[in-house]
Structure formats: structure tokens, C-alpha cells
Symmetry: C3
Subunit: 655 residues, 3 copies
Amino acid sequence: MAKTENSHIPMIGAEVFIEPGQSPEEIDIWFQQLQKNGMKITRIRMFESYMHKADGSWDFSLFDTAFRAGEKYDIKIYANLFPATDFTDVGGFKFPKSEANLGQISNYIQHLVPHFKQYASLYGWVPINEPGSGVLPEDEYSLKSFEDWKAREIKELYNSQGFTILDFRKEKFLLYYNTWFLSWLTQEIHLYDPGARIHVNNHAIFQHAAEYDFPQWRSFLSSLGGSAHASWHFGYFSRHKYAVAMSANSEILRSGAGPLPWLMTELQGGNNIYSAFNPLCPTPEEIAQWLWITIGSGSKGSIFWCLNPRRSGFEAGEWGMLDYLNEPSCRMRAASEVINVINEHADFFSEAKVAESGIHILYTRESLWIEQALQVKSDSTEPGRDIGGVMKSALAWFEAITEMGVSPGFREIGEFDFTRKDYTGEVIILAQQISIPSRYWTALEHFVERGGHLIAEGLTAYYDENAFALMGKDFPFQKLFGGLIKEFILKDRLFEIEVEGHTHIAHLWYGIIHPLTGRAIAVDGEEVLALRNTFGQGKVLWIPSLIGLGSRITDNYHSLVLLLNRELGHILDKQVFRFSKQQPGLLMKTLQNGKDYLSILINKSQESQDISIQGGENLKPILWYANKNGTVASSDQIQINREETLLIRWMSYSD
Amino acid sequence: MAKTENSHIPMIGAEVFIEPGQSPEEIDIWFQQLQKNGMKITRIRMFESYMHKADGSWDFSLFDTAFRAGEKYDIKIYANLFPATDFTDVGGFKFPKSEANLGQISNYIQHLVPHFKQYASLYGWVPINEPGSGVLPEDEYSLKSFEDWKAREIKELYNSQGFTILDFRKEKFLLYYNTWFLSWLTQEIHLYDPGARIHVNNHAIFQHAAEYDFPQWRSFLSSLGGSAHASWHFGYFSRHKYAVAMSANSEILRSGAGPLPWLMTELQGGNNIYSAFNPLCPTPEEIAQWLWITIGSGSKGSIFWCLNPRRSGFEAGEWGMLDYLNEPSCRMRAASEVINVINEHADFFSEAKVAESGIHILYTRESLWIEQALQVKSDSTEPGRDIGGVMKSALAWFEAITEMGVSPGFREIGEFDFTRKDYTGEVIILAQQISIPSRYWTALEHFVERGGHLIAEGLTAYYDENAFALMGKDFPFQKLFGGLIKEFILKDRLFEIEVEGHTHIAHLWYGIIHPLTGRAIAVDGEEVLALRNTFGQGKVLWIPSLIGLGSRITDNYHSLVLLLNRELGHILDKQVFRFSKQQPGLLMKTLQNGKDYLSILINKSQESQDISIQGGENLKPILWYANKNGTVASSDQIQINREETLLIRWMSYSD
Amino acid sequence: MAKTENSHIPMIGAEVFIEPGQSPEEIDIWFQQLQKNGMKITRIRMFESYMHKADGSWDFSLFDTAFRAGEKYDIKIYANLFPATDFTDVGGFKFPKSEANLGQISNYIQHLVPHFKQYASLYGWVPINEPGSGVLPEDEYSLKSFEDWKAREIKELYNSQGFTILDFRKEKFLLYYNTWFLSWLTQEIHLYDPGARIHVNNHAIFQHAAEYDFPQWRSFLSSLGGSAHASWHFGYFSRHKYAVAMSANSEILRSGAGPLPWLMTELQGGNNIYSAFNPLCPTPEEIAQWLWITIGSGSKGSIFWCLNPRRSGFEAGEWGMLDYLNEPSCRMRAASEVINVINEHADFFSEAKVAESGIHILYTRESLWIEQALQVKSDSTEPGRDIGGVMKSALAWFEAITEMGVSPGFREIGEFDFTRKDYTGEVIILAQQISIPSRYWTALEHFVERGGHLIAEGLTAYYDENAFALMGKDFPFQKLFGGLIKEFILKDRLFEIEVEGHTHIAHLWYGIIHPLTGRAIAVDGEEVLALRNTFGQGKVLWIPSLIGLGSRITDNYHSLVLLLNRELGHILDKQVFRFSKQQPGLLMKTLQNGKDYLSILINKSQESQDISIQGGENLKPILWYANKNGTVASSDQIQINREETLLIRWMSYSD
């Protein structure tokens, strides 16, 4: 077993990029700069290409210099495996290319690990940089592994009522294969460094989520990580939404990690020129926002990509936290100020946990698989039926709740604990989750039966896990939802739908309900468009239209927030803190250490805002951090400027 | 020979989709619903994959259930061959993949046909679903057939004046190959079911027209069909033009069928989600419009795709006329109302024919081939020189004439009868038909010589059939057109051109004419831009600029209608009925049964309209159908609401 | 050695397209038309396919007819090699496909050259039409040549400070390979026609510039040429900028030619329909502009593509200067008028040279290679980081200086003469030249040291030739530029930057400077954004932001012109002529014959303009040519209409 630790302050760091051509003096400066700026951790790509000589001998000297500098300046190092690959391979290996290549990787580990485990600066190992490739590679080893797996695989019992079904074995295998390879690498590492920390950073989570089986990974990981680069990974968001994107990304990782700690392994540290999809340079304010959001989402640390940029080829001179003169950039200084606050309140942060909201936005892997499988090549683009529709729908609800000052969880359905006895005060939101696999049908019933609250939106439960349409008289959710769907009808790109007297903007389709036990709450002529249903101790709200995506496209969550206020009164009342009213563009995260609370507020709106926080009425707000001159007089007198982050520690007036 | 019948009312139906997993009870309900809603016909895909077991044995039981239900509820069934193919192959086979595969298909027919011909419910066979693949497939059998064909093919005598020419043998072979395979399948079916009805549905007609040799098909078909799905096939049109698109599609089929009856084999019946290029759900009004347009274009029936949607994979739960509870949707009810009207007036509809307008919009297959062959990959897009320019130009004139309340024919030039002695009262429109094959040069002269009227527009006759430019002193149409082209000049994306005092909007190029016998009717400085010419007993109007496409791009046919009014006075006066003035967005089709007339009016404009119909002055209008409360007091007092369809039966006041 | 000549008037002509099917009479007419319209030269594609019979025999008769007609009408012919290729291969061969193909080409030359060298009408040979293919072809011969070259290639001494580097051997090989093949073809031609003139026309220069090694070509060429077709090659420009595009294209060729004469081998002569990327037909005014611009850039002639269009397949009936009746088009007549003016002043034009401005806009081949190599596939498009950003930045400065009435040089850095002793009065502009190869580092220092003036803009010198980032403490230009870059920061798509009190619009990034010896001239808070530095006898202006591209995107060069006025006072004062103030949309070229000067003015603005020319105060302007009724009273009373070209010959008042 690998070590896992939860009891330490979040460790902030930046990746030192090591490559031949660098001088020992320069490497020394980089570690010195990490220390000077309060950073405690780094990650290094252990390029086999720069160690393994043509004659088969190994020369670790370049990397030894770095590990010794780590010891000298007390910087912990995550060593990232990087078996030999082409210079133009920016991201590195994802899978073995052949049996021989698997042997080469094993041999590389056999030489690498025993050598570097000697260093006190070695903190742990990262077996792969950014696993997840989107598709099953066509190489010999992968295809053979797929064949072997198919031969082994036990036929599933559930067969979609006898109907012929699409084949999702490639997707399922890829899920398994990532897990298998990470596990194999961990075992190889542990052969030479038993119990060493193992950390893995997934990436492009909104696109690749369906490829990661986090619960399975927990068995060999010490901590889960992720890469969240705005330039590469936040294509579903505009720039002023990068903060909420970071929040959602963090929540997915927090859920994936489960009981394990998690870190944001890569955060964009600097300017990109030719690399990445969108060019940008983070502002110091964004650096602070991203750090506090990950911390506010319970991370035990963040590492910027990168401290010093590589010098040659792709990314040359890009992404750095140091400038070209090896001096701290304004971004580095911003990170350093955050670190100072953490250190100042180390007692609080070392044991702080996320104050759970009880709100769970779930996505299902199979929804993403099916959405992709059913794509038709076409010029027309409609967010709701293109790739991304499923994830963006879930994000819409996440964004709406964020504007309420509440931080919902965001997780794959398989990461939700359906075994509890009581779900009072918990809500699950299934927004446009087109596939609900059969293994969760009774689980969802149990959740509601035992007091849980369920919101089902859009085409949720349209398919089972095999792209078999569940619509019809045998709809498995009819008891739970309180009705059946008669038809889905495409109305328009955007159209109005009235629910309980409030107008929502919906996208593409609306569902017409045949009510059974449910109570109609939206009616158009003779058509029932939404239901409330009670089931056991719990309740269900069913709106089979894309009101989330409609809100997201029009960038207006007003109606959705009103709906959530009506619907989730009991759960909202249980929140320790939340905004007194909807605050578009604002974001609040709450950390808890025993009975002590810290609120992290970020203002991404276009203007300075005056905020009132419900829950803080009888508490004394202490400002721990404000980077744009914001002020706090009381819970209803909080002034936060554009792009600012505030940290408010709530004390009782008697303290 | 296969049976052909013209003397029956149009049969409306919907396709029953049969697949394993369905229960006999459900299959029974579907046929019952067909009957309840007045439907008389269905089509079923006879999936070999669901009959032919792994051990080589055949199990027809699933389909037997359907055929028995057909007998029970008196529903006629078109059995559609569907040899074994992948589950993800939505459209099915187009060509044999290999010699072995051809044998497998033969074997499949040998088992299938004798079994199902026993059922009284069997109406006929559809050898292929939607032949036409756009390109010659690269499989072994097709390539070998191509080589054999090239070896056999007799060299054409006409050789473009000795110039080197592009090779269009692939296009010509594909034309032949589709015909050959359909014929071969028919023979195979007739081996076991001699004289059985044979029906084939082409598809995406505006894109694939050049691939179909309808006159050749007539030798083995009982009736011609087509698939006209707005979501898949109407990409050249915006939604409010789908009615006129359906009209043009129908006219192409009517022409292709010649003396045979024709049916619209597939009409979109319901909502699509992930499938097809554009998402939409037909409104009940559109369902009625499409049915009446096909009927008004002389079809003997229409079958919706589909009654019950497939349950799994591509199209799962999509396209259905029944809702998920197997109840009729509003679309089904709309179709049922149409059926009631047909039944009520069965005597009229069973022998009704299209009242011919004498206006023939012709396209040439070679224009489509050449347009495609000469494309250069480019970011810039100009409708006139991109793929679609030829067809859209012809459609522009179709749309303009439609606004006059007249329904022109739309046909491939090879489908026009050039052997008649007198063409008085007939007009041919060649709009941007860039290639006029040499075999039609004297035919067109004969047409005009014998009293026909010709309108040549745009770059018509720029090329011969081999992409050889006909421009020059030896221009073969100089006598007919009354002049020669000096130059084509690109002026602008859109520009004005004045013809007889009226301003037209043209697109891209204008032609400068060197007049011979023709009379200039458009002059710009010293440049002659249009001619009228008389030739024998007939006349020619030649406007070598793209005024059709210019009108279509600006969505304004005002000038074109004025021109047609001036030009075609004699032909317009011969129309039984037409609008008293231009009616943008309206459409009128006229059916004739002996001396009895029926007008079908559809309002696709944004507002309710008051219509006056020329030709009905002394007739008593009887309203047979109005689905939005439209009214008719007299021929000049017709009120038709948005999206409405009206049927007006014209009676003499003495009746 | 091939013949070279500089002492003749510019020869204007048009390409006669010869193909089977044409009659001797028609060929005769074409040459007659050339003569009638004053044209003296043509080019003919010597299609092997139309000479080399299936039985191996050769039949030159079709082309003999043309060469005899050339003799008859005194038209000189460039014979363009065109070895056998497919009919659809519009541009012709670029490289041998195989060893056997190389042998076939040699055999073709062996038959072709001895036969046609007998004609007095033969002027010279064009070994390849439009060399330059963008990428190394994947055929057998090219790949083998690449391997041989790699084996031969001596490792470069400069190794980017020991860092791993990207592999640009394909790009380097392609540069070599084009040169080698042209040289080989020349040798083959000279075997049978020793000393014959050799001419080559590159094409798409703004895209393919990095593929051409003009200085190496000089060893076997008699003259350099180019194809500059607006429809195919001017995609970086909108139509009203085609004149300045032609000017820049011409300057690149003039620089490439060095001491050799140059011709514009292909100019678009007529309308295109399906061929080329953008459809257009040149106006007579554009024909005149293009001719005078090339002449004003020192060309010894221009040949239009084409006199008579090919008749069949791609380009059939397109591009011609004659109309379809073989009569001169208005474009031909415009060219003829230009020829008359040249003939009238033959004494001046035969020895006229470009009046050098001393302003040199340089691009580096490696900047283009690296820009391409570092592209990431992405939907987002930013001109500054997409392909074209390097070239468009250089063009921005070219366009700005053009508005000053000055004609800068435009050349690859390797074409600049760095060996001189004194560069007083010379300025080099490096705009967004991201790569400065190490072999030019000291050369640039010498240039400035010896009195040269350097402007470095954008990310110039970001990389060395291996895509190694030069940013850092060891920045090789720190002494020359007077500082180092601390960071490049992406600010916005467009943003303001103030330099010496004037606001510029910059694109994407701004560079923050750490000044050493330089004097800050743009400061934002504590950040230094631009420097002036003196180095030896010269000066450097360094603005590491994309103010050129920012100006080009917003189509406003006002601030850039102001900056150039301040910066280049001494150089501007040395200009013989220039506009008294900025003239957006206008262009002036100056030719010099000894002490005699001719100014060519073109007005591409939307309105008639009144112009004042500095330098002509004491000179008498004589109007040699004005094609839209422009007038000249004195140097400050010049009236030029829209689209007009004026030729002003400056005489002393005492003449």
C-alpha cells in the first residue's frame, strides 16, 4: 500500500523542467526561488531520453543535480515517469506500444526508482503524466490487450430487454485499460520503493471524464490529481467562467479521490504562445482565484506548470512562473502571498475540510459514451446534441447553484454512496444525463425512498447503458418520477417554458409527460411538461426539457435559481453560509475545521459588489485575505471588487 | 414483368420497425393502430440478421408475427430486402461487397421470398433501401465491375472536337451500376415470386439526382419511390421552404416514374434527437402539407418513417408517429384526418392526375457531375460555384413559379419527350445548367422549332458532357439562342442587372453577348446582356447571368415573377388555375379527374393571406379540407391562415 | 552559363495555350492578336502528352505551328517543360516521381530541346512551372533523395546551447531539393541548347517563400519569375489591397533575382469560374495597375495567364485575355495601352532601375518553418499565432510605408548584403520574425555598428533556427537591442500601447523589457515596453509587441506612419520622392534612369485624391499616362481618381 496523508497544509509548488543544456547553477536558482517564494513541492519529468545513453548505460547526473537542490532548499519532488519518447511528444506516454515497449518501461523503472529513492527530496512517484487519450490507441499492444479482455470479459446479465445493442466494449475496455496500466506501473515502482507515494493527474476532465475509473484507482493511489489548464482544457467556458470551471474541475477530483487526498497537479502558470488551444496569460488575480478555489474544494495542494519553461520546441519559453531572468513574475508573487496566508493559518488549513452542501450533481459515464457514439457528421451545431451537451447541462446546474453561494458536489454516479440509510437533506441532480445504467435504477429509488431529493432534467434516463431507449410503457423510472414520457419534441433552438409561473428558456426539446402519481407543475394546453412526485420519504422534481442548457446558452440563471430556491428550501436552509440573494459572477466556497469556518469569496462579475451572506448574522467576520482592497464590516456588509478574492474567517462574537 | 397500378386512392401508411425484443402483443398493437388511423400500407425491413441463425438455419417467426398482423388488420406490407449487415449500418446495403456477398444475397432472397410470398398481406418488394451512395464504393466487387464495364463500354462517337477531356466514366458507371444491381435483385425476387410488385425509394434527391437513371429503372419497377426527410435531405432549404422542397422532390419523382405510379416511400414522421443533419420534429401542419403536396403531385401514396421507432442504437426512440405509449401522436392524428378526406372523396382521388402546367424545369446529370469534378478546396463559399449551384439555380425558378400558383415540372433532361411534333404551350427552363450534352443539341432546336419556348439562364451550355467549353465561334446554340457569348465576367457576389426596365439581382457572373439574330433586351453601355430570339415556330429567352440564384440568395422572386409573367403570358393563360398575383410563401397544386378539378393551397408565409385565384371566376368553390379555419367564399375570396392547407373542389355553379 | 539581359524594355505578353483540337488558323490568330496588341512575348507549355505518341514516336507538329506563328508575327516564346502527367494535373510536375521518371524526363528533354531550338521564335526555357509544393512529396524518389541528403549532410556547428531541438531537416531538404532539380533540368536543357535562357516562376510567394533559395538559383537562371494570381495567391489580402500585394510580391522577386533581371511570368488575365480559391475577373484598371507596379518594381516584363483559355476540363474557358471570339477583351486593350506608353518611352524604360529607398523589410525562412511546426489544431483563430502571422506582420510594415509614398524592399534575410562597410541611410525592419538564425546574429550587429538602423518588432528573435527560445539572460541581442525580455504576456486580441505619446493598437502579446543600455520610450507603470538603443554608428528601435499586425487587423496605419516619420527622418529625407502626408490606399513607385525619374501613382482608396509629392517641388511634372482622367499641374497639385494609375515624368524646369 502507498502512503496517504490528509493532515498537512495545502502544499503549493511549481514544476521544475529539467532538460540537457541547463547549468547546475540555474537548477540551483530554480529551487532557491521555490523556497524563497514559500513553495514546498515540485514535480519533475524523469525523461528516460536524458538518462539512458545510446550504449545502454544510464547517466542520472542532470537529475541528481535537481534532487540535490531539492534537498538543499527543502523542496519535495514528485518524480514523474517519462519513458523514452519522441521530442515532439509533449504529453508523454499513455500506454505501452508493444510487449517489447512494456519491457523497456519496466527496465527503465528498475533503473530509475532505486536510484532516486535515495534522495530525501523524493516525495513520491507519478506513474503517467495525464493519462487519458480520448480513444483506444491502435497500437499492437493495446489491440491485443483488447482482444484478451474481450475473451475474459463475463457477459453482462442485463441485456436491454432482448434488443440488439450497440457495442460499447471499446469504451469499457479503455476504462479498464487505463486503470490496469496505472496499477501495473505502481506495482513496478513499489518493487523498488515499497509503499512510496503514488499520485496521478488526469486532464481535460470535462472531455475525458468517462475514461477515468477513479474509485478503482483509489486502491493504488496515495492521492489523486489533475491538470486544469485554462488554455488547454476550459474550452466549454468563456474566460470570466474559468473560476467556476476550476471549481467544477476541483469538485470532480474531490469526488474521485473519495477518502484520499487530492492535489491540482498542474495549473497554468504563465503565458502560452503557439501551444494550447487558446492563448492567454493568467493574471495574478486568476492565480489567486485558482489556488483558493482548489483549496476551498479541499485540495491538499497545487503545482503550477511550470516554474521554468522548457527552452526548445513545443512550449519553449511558455507557461513559466519565473520570468526569463529567473525572477518571480507577478503571478509567482501572487502565489507567494497565498502561501503566506496558508502558513499564517496553518492550524486551520491543515485539518480543514469542505463544508458539505448535500447537493450532488451527478454525471454518468455512459451518457458521455452514447452522446459520442450517436454523433452524425454535420455542419449544424446545437450544443444540446453535439458532444459536450451532457457535460454542459450538468455544468449549467453547477453554475446556477454557484451563484447562490453554495458549492455543490460534482461526481460520476458510481462515486455516489447509495448504501446509506438516510438521505434527508441530500439532493441529486441529473441534468440531461441521457443514460442511466440499469445498475443504478433501484439505487436511485432507494435514495429517494430514504429521504433523498431528486431533480431529473432534460432527456435524463432516455437510454440505458447500451443506448437502448427506455422510453415506453416499461419506463423503469415511472414510479420514481411519477409518470412516463409520451414524446420528446424539438421546438426551437431556444424557447420559453413556464414552470410554476416562472418562465425558463429551454433548448431544443421539450418532453410531454403522461402523469401517473406525479403532480403537474408545468402545463401547456393539454400537455404536462413537469412533475413533482413523492416517493417513500423523498421527493422528485422532473422537468424533461433542457432548461439548464437553455440558461447556460443565454447566460442567465435567474429562473433556475428561483426554481432551486423553491425546490431546495430545506437543503438550502441547512447550508452554513450562502448568499442572501443570487449573485451572478460570484462564487463562494466554505471550509470547515471542526466548528471553525472559512468562506472564500471570488468576484468574477464586471463590477464591484456588495454582498450579504446568510448564516453569518451572529458571527464576526475576520478578513484573512483580500487582494483588491475589499472590506468586511459584517455578514451583510461585504464589499468585494472585480476579480478579487476574499477570505473571511467567521468567529463567534464571544471569541 | 412486375405489376403496376394507377387506379387506386393514395395509400397512406407508416413503416413498422421489427426487431427482436418486441412482443407479439406490441406488434399487434402497431398494426391495430395503423388500421384505426385509416392507414392501409406499411413497409418492413426484412433484416437477414434477425432471421438467419448462426447455425445457418432460418427463423422467420418474428416477421411472421408482423405479416399475420398485417392480414388480421388488413394492412398491406412492402417487404424491404435487408441482407445481413452491421447493427450500426443505419441505411443498409447499397452494393454487393464481393462475389461471395452477392451469393449470400441471392441465398437470402431464395429463403426469404418463397416464405413471405405466402402472406396475403405481402404487397410487394423493395429490393434496396435508398440506393445511391454519392460515390463509387472502393470494395472489390464494385471495382471489378467497373473494370469489366470499362472493357465492354463502346467508345462514344462525340469527342468534343478532338480536345482532351476529363474522364467521367466513374460517374457513368455508377449510374449503370445502380440500375444493374436493382435489376439483378428484381430478377432474383421474381425467380420465386414472379410478377411481384417492385418498388424502390431513392433519397437525398437534390444531392444524388445525377446517380439515378429513372427511365432505365422503369423496365423492372412497378412504382417509383423516394425518401424525403426534412432532417436529412432538405439542407438546401430553410424550414419555411420545406413545403416547396417537398413539391420539387415530388415533381422529380413524378417525372422519373413516367407512366408508372410513384409513392413517397419515406416521410419524416417524428422527432429526431442525435440522428440526421438537422434536428426537428414535424408539426401536424407540416405532416398535412407534405401529404397533400405529394398527393397534389400525383403520388399514389406516402409512408411515414416510421410508425414505431427502433428501440436501440442509432435513431432509438426517434422519428415515430406513435408516441412512446403506442398512442397516436398529433402528427398521426393529422395524417388520419388527411386519410379521412381521401376516403370521403375516393372516387375523385383514385383517378386524379396532376393538371399539367406545360412548364418544365430541366436539369442535366452532366451539370452536376462537372460542378463536382471542378471543385477546388477553398475556404471561400459562393453558392454559384460550390456544389449545389446547378441544382439551386433550377430550384430558384421552381420556387418563383410556385409563388405564381403554378406547379412546374422538374425533370432530368433525358426524361423529357423530345419526339413530339408540336410543343406549343410548353416551356423548358434551363437555369445554370452548365453542361448540355451533345445528344440534346438538336433535340432542343427541334423543341423550339416546333413551337416550344426556351428560357436559358446563367452559364447554361457552358460545357458539353465532357467539361469541354462550348464558348467560342462554334457555339452550338448560336442559331437557337440568337447569339454568342463574348465573355463571362465576375462582377460581385450580388449585383443589379436591368432587363426590360426591371432590376434583377444577379450572383457572381454576367455574360456579355455578341448578338446574331437575337434582339437585345438588356444592355449595359455597349454590352448586350440578354436576348430574345425566334427560331422556327418557337422563341428563346437568353439571360446568361445568374438571376435565379441571385433571387434565391436574397429570397425575393419579385422581378423573376414579373419576367415570367411577361415571357410566358400564353402559357400562363392556359393554366386552369393560378394566383391572381404573386404570393410569396404560398403554394398551389391542382389535381384533375376528367373535368373535375381540385386545388391544394398551402400558406407558408408568416401571416394569414387573402387569396384570389385566376381561373375559378365562374366556378363554385367547395372546401374539402381546411386545418386552420381557412374559408372560401369565391375564387377571389379565399382566406388561408399561417401553415394552413386548404383543399378546394371547383364545381360549376350549375352542378 | 545562361544568357542574362537587363537592357531592354519590359516585354509584355500573354501565354498561348496549345492543345490538340485547335486549328492552325486559330493558332495563327492568337499570335496575330499578340502582335496587333503590341505584345512581344509568350510562354507555351510543351506538353509531352501531346507530342509523345503511344508507339514511342514524337510528333511536334501542333507546337511547330505555334513556333512558326511566333516567327511570322515576331513573338518570342518561352518554352515551358511539361513532361507527361495526368490531364487533371493543372500545375504540372514539381519533382521526379521515381528514378525511371527522372529518366523519362531526361529523354523528353533530349527530344524536345534540339527540335525547338531551331526556331528563331524560341526565346528561352522554363524548366518547371511554379516549383514549390508546400510539403515534401511522399514519393519514392523524393524520400530516397531525402535519405541520401541526410547521410551527406554535415552536422551544423551551432547546436542551440546543448538543448534538444526540433528537427527541421525536411524543410532544409526541400529547400535544397527544389534547387537541385531546377539545376539538373537546366543542365539537361543546356546539353542540347548550350547557353539558352533559363527562367523559373515561383508562385504563392507569401505562403511558399520559405521553400525557395533564390540566391542559389541565380547560378543557373537567366532571369527570375513569379506567378502572382490574385485568385490563387492573394488570400492574405482583400481586393482593394491587391495592388500593394502585387508590390510586395514584386519586391520579393526583385530581391530574389539580385543582379539578374526578373519578370512576372504569370499575371491573372481573365475571369475564373470554378478554378482558384477566390473567383474574380480583373478590371482593366487592375490590369494596368499590376503592369505598372511590376514595371515600377524593376521587372523586365510580364506575361498574362493566358491569351486564349484552354478549352477542356479545369480552367476551361477561364483566365483569357481574348474573349471567346478571339477578340481583345477590355483587359487586353488596357494592357495594349500600357505597352504603347512603354514603346513611346523606350529609351527611358530600357535602362530604368528602381530608385532604392534604403528601407529593407526582412523575413526569415526559419520564422515561417517554426510558425508552421508549432501549430496546434484548434478552432480558435488568431492571426498572430496562426500560419501567416510572420508574413502578415512583415506585410503590415510594408503596407504602412507604402502609404508614405515610399517603396521598401522586401527580402529574405539571406538575400541582404551584410558585407558592406557603411550602412548609413539604410534601415532593416524585422517584424515578428520569431526566428533569427545564429548565422545572422553578428551580421545584424555589424549592420548597426556600421551606421545601419534596425527596427525589431513583436516576438522577433524569440527563437533561433532550431526553435530554441533565445529569451533569457543569455539573449544574444541584448547588446544590440539594449535590453532583455522579462516576459511576453498575452493581453488581448487587440489592445492599446502608448509609445512616445502615440497610441498603437497591438495584437495578442506585449513584451516587458529589462533595459540595459537602451532608453525606454514606452512605459506602463513599472513596465518598460519599448527601447531605443545606439550601437556603434547605428541605432535600434525595439518594440516587442505586435503593433504591425494590430494596425493591419484594424486597417489603420496612422500611428505606425507617425512612428516611422519620427524614427526614419534621415532616411525619409533621402527619398527622391514621397507623399507629403500619409495617403491610405495610395501607392507610389519611382523608377530612375540616370538622373531621370518617373513616378508611378496608383489610387486604391475609395475616392478621388489630391496629392502632394515631396521632392518634386522644383521639377516639372509631365503626365505620361493617366487612365481615369487624372491631372498634374505641379508636384503639389496632382489629382488622381479612384482606381487610376498615373505616370509622372519629372523634368527640370530648364529642360
